[in-house]
Each structure stands twice: as C-alpha cells, then as structure tokens.
Symmetry: C2
Subunit: 518 residues, 2 copies
C-alpha cells in the first residue's frame, strides 16, 4: 500500500483524462505522472533520501498536489507548513523533524529568507511561484525541466508518509506521524461509505496543508478524480469555480459555507452540478443547514469528526441525518458514528468504557491511528494507551452509537467544583435569534476558580444585551452553567481550518495567572 498507487492506476488506465485544474492550467494524468517522476528525481538530487522530510509553505495550487505525490514517489515524507503560523512557529516545526528542503510560493516569499536564516539546518529553498526565482532560491519549474524522472520508491504500508504539526487550538505543537497505511485506510474507508459515482470533480478551497483536505486529496488520488484547486477560500471564487468546472463536491466547514451562502453572487451562479458538501471542524448550525437545503435542493451533507492523530476521520454523520427527520431529532448535530475501519468508545479517566449518554473521552482504534508523535515518546505513550488513541475530546454516545461532542477535555470549565461543557452552553446561546456565533470559555475567578464567559457575535440588524442572553440561558440550563459575563465582538478568531481559536480568546484573561487551563 503506497499513496502513489492511484496515480499509477490512472497512468495505466486513463492517461489522457484531466487530473488537475488550477486557474487556466490543466494537467492530464500523463502530464502529472511525468512531472511527479521528475520532481521526485529533483528532490532526490537535492538530498532527499528515504524517509527524509520536505516542507511546503504555500497557498493551494496544482503544485501543492505535485509536491505531495512527488515527495511520496521519491521516498520522502511530507511536512506541510501551517500557513497561519509565524516564522518562529514554522522554524520550530522544520527543525523539530530536521527538514532540509522547503518549497515556498509567491504569497509566503516575504517569510522565506527569515525562515532559512533562523532554522538550525538552513533548508534548501525552492520557489514555486509564478515569476523569476529570487536570489538564493531554486526555481521549481527549472528543477522539473532539468531532472531525470526516477522510478517510484514504493515506500508504503507502515512507512512514514507525513509529519503534520498540530497546535493552533490547543497547547504546544507536536509532529503527528502518519503512515501511508494511515492515510490510505482513512481515504478508502470514506470512499466505501460515501462513494456512489465515478470520476468526481472535486473543489479544493480549504487549505491543503491541513489533514482534512490532504486526506480528501488522497481519496481523490485513489479514485482518479479531477481536482479543481483554488489558492485559498474566497466565496466568490468558490461560486465561480463550481459553475465553470461543473464541480460535484467540496469540503466547506460551516463558517465557510455560511460565507458562501451569504455572498451576493450565490444567486447568480449555476450551482446545479454540486451534489455533496463535506464538512468538519464543528456541527452545522440549524440556520445554516436550513438555508443551504433550501438554496441547494438535493444537496447531500456529510459531516465527519476527526483529528490529525486519526488521519483524520473517526466518525461520520451521513446525509440522511441532515434532512427533516435529523433536524427534528437533533441528530444533525451529532458527530456521527464510527466509520468503516474505525472503532470508537467513550471512556473514563481509567480508560474504562462509560455507559451510553455519559460524558467521557473519545478513544479510537484502527489502521488510521497515527504511528505516534515525532520525537515525543512520553506524549505518544500518553496518547496511545492499551492500543487506543485517547483523543482528549469529550463526548457522549447515544443508544445507536452516535457521538455528541461536548468539548475538548481541556476546554471543560471547572467552576465551583462543577464541570461545565462549553458546547452545551454554546448550543443554548446559539438558539437565541440574535446570536450569529458564540464561544464559551473559562476565565479566572477569585471565588469559583473559573467563571463561565461567553463571547458573542450578534446577528446583523439585531439588538440584544447581556441580561437578555443570560435570561435566555436560564430557561434551558442550570444557573452555574450560565455565562457570568458576556462580551460582544464583530468576529471570532478562526484557525485556517475554520475552528474557533479559544486559545486566543482565553489568552488575555490568563496572561498573568499562575494556573493556565489550556
């Protein structure tokens, strides 16, 4: 099992079909295969040996997909850089796993020299942009043109395929080691669950450095689908691409979907080709779901819950639960059930399974579970215990195996000795018609240890105040769960994957505190 296998199949069976569309540029499988074999040769000539890491710091492009395939073809390991990170964060992730080659596009060119200058092993810089290569950087296209194509190294199975640095929403960054088998088993399992037509045209608008988009790309490689690539998420460009390229499916987290639905172009574009929307990061708000179903009749929503350590999908909530029945029962807010090839249980602090409808920590087992954290044996032992990945995510499971995520275990608020799951409070707050978005966090409190604090984005054109929202909450949940304080903002800080960055919301409150929750 190796992640270039899908490319080999397409080269054998359908070489003239379109593999990638990026703006005006298209690549057939034959062209892609030839470029990948040369890129692999170029990387090897730059010193990439079996299992060596190669990084890319770039917006999405056809070259991002070539980077993935070319590194694997040549026997290397991906270490894709989170595009939201600062130079010190990037340098940490490169140095931590000894990355010696870094590909950089036009957008991130201003950071390139700083990174190279501060990294412990000054990486070879490859420029993947559209202009002349700057001084001190090698030109991607020239490397491909000059390199000899090499044979596939056929690394696979339990060999390392990628090191994905997590962080963003919780704690210190760790390098998640994903094997070829991890990514392949995750991709093929989703295909078995979701697939019902051949040769999809799939739009990449979410960032490819992120494990969700990358795993989806792996699935499309296996199936030989056509990738339509946008440099970054931009609602107007998404709408234009769907119409122009007759896109079948797209990954859009709820915050992105909302932006697409609210864009003035939405009603002008022919979106009739779109069959499926995949989403993760969070459940979908009822209002967004209703709007989407009304505006895109027949659209199918697939929700997946996962994490980088599970490469990434753990559970799946199918389209059926997004219809009227799922809306009525509330099942549309579930993170779904264990997917094919994945075992899931909810456990207590001792790793013992808790009864249904009792909150505990999600534990996962399957071929998708990571090899461990790079160079972090202690953290690996903490995460992988008794054959199960302990996710740190809190949830309960209903009688039919559906998971309902309540929180990161670390996001749980302890106030006056009581546990408060912020998700429960957020669910109640979001039912108020004036609340567009919200996040609930714990902030230091002299008396209670922590106090429940809400950050709210009000819906445009509405008016609401703190006491009205507190009154609303008291109708549904216990007093100790209701926000003690509520703060209104224009927007919430989001990660590149569309997750609300609670760490950033909490930071100012905890700055001078000795006890830090996250």
């Amino acid at each position: 099992m190796y992640l270039t296998q899908g490319l080999h199949r397409c080269l054998q069976q359908r070489p003239a079909d379109i593999a990638i569309r990026y703006g005006e540029r298209t690549r057939t499988f034959a062209e892609l295969g030839a470029r990948v074999a040369r890129l692999a040769g170029a990387l090897q000539s730059l010193g990439m040996g079996d299992g060596d890491r190669v990084s890319m710091l770039a917006l999405n492009s056809d070259r991002y997909l070539e980077y993935m395939l070319g590194v694997w073809w040549g026997g290397g390991v991906l270490n894709p850089v989170n595009i939201r990170w600062s130079v010190p964060e990037i340098v940490y992730s490169l140095d931590d796993c000894d990355t010696r080659i870094l590909l950089v596009d036009d957008h991130f060119l201003p950071l390139a020299q700083d990174i190279a200058a501060t990294a412990a092993h000054r990486p070879t810089l490859v420029y993947t942009g559209e202009r002349e290569a700057p001084q001190g950087m090698l030109a991607y296209e020239a490397l491909i043109a000059e390199a000899q194509p090499v044979a596939d190294a056929f690394r696979g199975g339990n060999d390392l395929a990628s090191i994905m640095y997590t962080g963003g929403t919780t704690g210190r960054s760790k390098g998640v080691m994903q094997s070829h088998l991890n990514l392949w088993s995750s991709a093929i399992s989703r295909m078995a669950e979701f697939r019902s037509y051949e040769h999809a045209i799939s739009l990449h608008a979410a960032p490819l450095f992120h494990t969700a988009a990358m795993a989806r790309a792996v699935g499309h490689f296996v199936a030989g689908d056509t990738h339509v690539v946008l440099p970054t998420f931009e609602p107007r460009a998404v709408l234009e691409a769907i119409e122009r390229d007759r896109v079948d499916e797209i990954l859009l987290v709820p915050t992105m979907l909302q932006a697409v639905l609210e864009h003035p172009d939405f009603k002008q574009r022919d979106l009739s080709s779109l069959r499926r929307i995949y989403y993760g990061a969070s459940p979908i708000a009822a209002g967004v779901l209703d709007t989407a179903l009304a505006a895109l009749p027949g659209i199918e929503f697939f929700h997946a819950y996962g994490l980088t350590e599970a490469a990434p999908v753990v559970s799946v909530n199918p389209p059926a639960n997004h219809g009227p029945e799922g809306r009525a029962s509330g099942l549309y807010r579930s993170a779904g059930r264990a997917g094919f090839g994945v075992s899931v249980k909810v456990v207590d602090a001792d790793g013992v399974e808790v009864p249904r409808n009792t909150v505990g920590e999600i534990a996962v087992r399957g071929a998708n579970v990571m090899l461990g954290y790079w160079n972090k044996p202690e953290e690996t032992r903490q995460a992988l215990r008794d054959g199960w990945l302990h996710t740190g995510d809190g949830a309960y499971m209903d009688e039919n195996g559906y998971l309902f995520i309540v929180d990161r275990m670390k996001d749980m608020i302890v106030t006056g000795g009581e546990n408060v799951y912020s998700a429960e409070v957020e669910n109640v707050l979001s039912r108020h018609p004036a609340v567009a978005q919200c996040a609930v966090i714990g902030i230091p409190d002299a008396r209670w240890g922590e106090a429940v604090h809400a950050v709210v984005v009000a819906r445009a054109g509405t008016r609401v105040d703190e006491s009205a929202l507190r009154e609303h909450c008291r109708q549904f949940i216990a007093g100790y769960k209701c926000p003690k304080t509520i703060e209104f903002r224009e927007a919430l800080p989001l990660s590149a994957a569309g997750k609300i960055l609670k760490r950033d919301l909490r930071a100012p409150y905890w700055q001078n505190q000795t006890r830090q929750v996250s």
Copy 2:
C-alpha cells in the same frame, strides 16, 4: 485493523438488526456477538493460543460465519478445509500448519474419525451438526453454552488471519498466509468500487471455505450487511432464498449462473429484489450473459479476477462493460482493470513489463498480497519477487488497462514449438451454437510434443461432430491452434469454486508420460 471490527461496529450501532439467516434460524448482531465471544472463549479453553490454527470441514451455515469471527476474536487463525478433498489431502493441510482443532458438520461426519486417526497431531474434534454429538467429539452448542465470553484479542494488521490451501487446479497444495490487512484491504477496496446502498442482503451459495466467498463475507462484516446462508449451491434453493429473503446480491460463477437460469423454477420465482451478481473463476459466455440480462432486467454484473494469494481480487470488470457496448466491443470478456489499492502489470520472464497487447505473466502489488506460503520459503521467494506477486497467470493488457487472461502459464500448450493459449481456442469453440461448454488441454504427441485437444459438452438438442467443429475453428484461428482431437462428454469436472479442473482432464493422458505439464 482487525477483522472483527465490523461486528464491533454493529454491536455498538445496530445490535437488534439481523446479521445472519440460515434456514429457520436467524441471529441478530447482539446474538452473534455474544456467541462469537463465547466461541472464542471455548476455543481458547481447548488450547487455541494467539496465532494457532483452527479448521472447519463443513458445508455453509451460520456456524461457518461464527467460526470465522470466533477464531479471529479469540486470536486464532483460520484454516478452512476444501470440501472436495479426500482424507489424505485434508490430513496433509491440517498437519502442514499444525492444526489442533477441527470443526466438522453432519455432512462430513463420515470423514472425521479417519482424519483424526491419521493426522500427526490428533486434532480435537468439534461437532457443529444438528444432532447429538457423536462419541469422541465435542458439541459446538454445548461449548458455546458453557464457555465464558472473552474479550477480543485484537490481533490485526499484518498478523496472520488465515491459511488457505490452494491446489485443486494446479500442482501441489500450498498454504497461503493471508493477514488481517490482506483481507480487510481487499474487502474495503471492493466496497469503495461497488458500494452504492446500505445494508445489503447477501446470499452465500458458493462455498465459504473458498477465498472468494470468504473475502465477500469479510466485506459484509465491515458493512454490517445481512448474510443469508445456503448449505451448498443448489439452483432451486438459490431461487427460493432470493424470493423469500429479498436478496440484493449474490456471488455466482458462470457455471452456477447458467444452472440457475436453466432451472424450471426460474420463471416462477419473484427475483425483483436482486440487484447484483458477482462472478469470478472465468469470463461469462455471451449466451449466458444475454439470457441473464433479458431475464433479469437491470441486473448489474461485477466480474473480478483474482487468486488466493491476492486475498483475492486483482482486477474488476464493472457492470458498464456487460451492457450492449461491452458486448459489442468484447470488453465483457475482459478480467477488468486493476482495482482500488491494487497495482497490476504484465511482465516477461525477467519481470520486465511487456508492451500493451503482448502476452506475459500478471504481476500484482498491494496491501492485499499474501504474506507468503506457510513453511515454504523457496516457493514464497518464487512468487514474491521484487515486491510483486507473480501470479502464474498469462494475460495481455489493452491500451486502457483492461486485462485479458489467456491462461495459466502452466496451461499453455506448446505444440511444434508454438505457444497455444487454450483460452483463445476455447473462445472460438464456444462461439459455435452447438457448444455448451468446452475445455482445451495439451496431450502428449510423439511428433509435436503436445497436441491441442478439446473436450466439448454439446448443447442439449443439437448435433455436431468433430470435423464440423474443426472446420469452425479454422475460420478464426491458425491451423496449429485448432484442436487435433475433440472428445464429447456429458459434463466437465468442476472444482468447488466452479472452475473447470483441467488437471483432471489431463491426468489420464499423461499418466505414463515422463514429462508432466501441470
């Protein structure tokens, strides 16, 4: 990755649904899970340790599926017995891999004591039949009733899941070592290719000891489908079960399908539930395909080519190629293209890929490829070279990656220095309206080394003689390829999997020859 995972998912998500129907007996997933955990405990108390082999000699039943899951749950390895074998052949397969427990049903009871008496390690005999357990045998139901349920051993990944003895059609029997990952990756890949609806009702009529039926059962375990089990293939019972249980899909090799289509009950039964027929062993004859498509409108045919060493599927020919276009182009006779997760190439004697449309040996790579042959390092080295499984099957590949099997390399006939592929001659013969079935073999010839010999089953109600058939062949193929001699029979010898046993056809001719081809 472990092969009991699908059962765990169903226990978690849908415990009250029907897992198995066998005659009047049904088992829900909850019942099946409880029985499997107890059977695993019983087998462990009989001495089954991690990786130990357990055999079953039986027709199909619900207990056959319990045997599969119970052995895996308890940490053991399957060694299913070929039901066509004689006592010495069975004893060889048990002794070769040191099997200490043997399950036997009513049908094979007469062989049980003989086997136990002649096996090197007298195996513990477990009676899985419907009556009182005979003297010297343990009762399956009593074992389950008395055993304590045990926790899943969670063996998986590259751990051994089964040792499948091949033979039947070629050479000496070898134990093919299949891992959990081999069987799982094969099953999940087919699901990704074929799946388009949930919770299939699937009929097992082909023998479960065979890798094709077993791999299909594994897929149904993953999906949580309902297994309807018949003890053995019998056209009347197949038709009755499809109607009674509203069966969605079935595995029927072409010889079985033909028998079903020609059965007097065919027109009496309501077969409207049937959506799919899977087949292997050989391509489908045009006449059978046309009859089936006319009689079962909308039916989908999936053809898979494979071998036990590939656990088993290598390539797949989808329904589209069984329609009018595929009939016209001849693509319906292809073995299909490399399936998801499988790499295929056609190579020469040095392992170098040959040009398209050139005959060579099929080589296979993927997570489905066996671990090797049990206790046969030399045969393993022969089969697994340079990372590829060398199948011994001859074929050519067309421009679009479609494989056309010409023969077992060993079935190739060498006559007067020319290679003759029996499949080519059989294809021509079968186009004659009077030919119902045929097989072409090489027989000793003093002048040519081997001579081309045909065995023909004439269609009922037709008359044809040797010279007319030879004349027919000369219109399509070179003289040296035409049968020198033609023999008419009532029927051809078939293996349990429905393959024509050419070895049996050849045997009488080669008995006293020093040079033996197969």
